[in-house]
């Protein structure tokens, strides 16, 4: 994929061998004066981006000040979630403004889903090569 950055799959469970490798993208999250680095799971089956509770706290967010309540699905349905806008930097690309469902869960990874990570970035998976390419939308 032209003008893309290539990343390797990351091991999350060595006991599972190749099945334990997943596409985690290193990112930097920015919120006001706060910033932190994280690894976001590229999850094309996820409808939305998800931010675990502790990362929101580390970004200086205050739960009570995030007024927009969201209803998630699957295992996250039983936990409260609120909308939060975060600036995300991927590699050398221009920062993007992403909306996250900030969940009370501390177990979930940072999930990068259809709304709106995959609306902002084109991604091509090469699972057989244990790599994936990422580039901003509109890049050719």
């Amino acid at each position: 994929m032209a003008n893309a950055e290539r990343y390797p799959y990351s091991p999350v469970n060595s006991a599972l061998g190749e099945a334990g490798l997943q596409p985690y993208l290193p990112i930097t999250l920015l919120n006001g004066s706060h910033s932190l680095t994280a690894a976001g799971l590229l999850d094309s089956g996820a409808t939305v981006n998800v931010l675990p509770y502790q990362i929101g706290i580390d970004l200086g967010a205050v739960w009570e000040q995030q007024k927009t309540v969201l209803q998630l699905s699957g295992n996250l349905a039983q936990l409260e979630a609120r909308a939060m806008l975060v600036t995300v930097v991927v590699g050398q690309f221009t920062p993007a403004r992403l909306a996250f469902a900030w969940t009370k869960s501390t177990q979930v990874p940072v999930i990068l889903g259809q709304v709106n990570f995959f609306m902002e970035f084109d991604v091509c998976f090469y699972r057989s090569q244990l790599a994936f390419d990422v580039r901003p939308k509109g890049t050719s």
Partner: protein, 72 residues
């Protein structure tokens, strides 16, 4: 496939060494069994699929003018 050389080397070990190798392998296999996916067990899938209302709400937020600290 287990190599011929490996088997040859293992057979050359004395009894106590063979038992030690056996213990190590059994221990590692037990550890892998604990960590591997097993039938009948349930594993959490965090992926929020079909969360369309949440997606719609988040898209509306993105269309609003930018505010400080992502607060809404």
């Amino acid at each position: 496939m287990v190599s011929v050389d490996l088997l040859k080397n293992l057979r050359a070990l004395d009894r106590s060494e063979k038992l030690h190798v056996l213990q190590v392998l059994v221990s590692e296999l037990a550890q892998e069994e604990q960590e591997s996916l097993r039938a009948g067990m349930s594993y959490p899938i965090w992926s929020p699929y079909d969360a369309h209302e949440a997606a719609e709400t988040m898209l509306k937020l993105l269309k609003l003018p930018e505010t400080k600290s992502g607060q809404r």
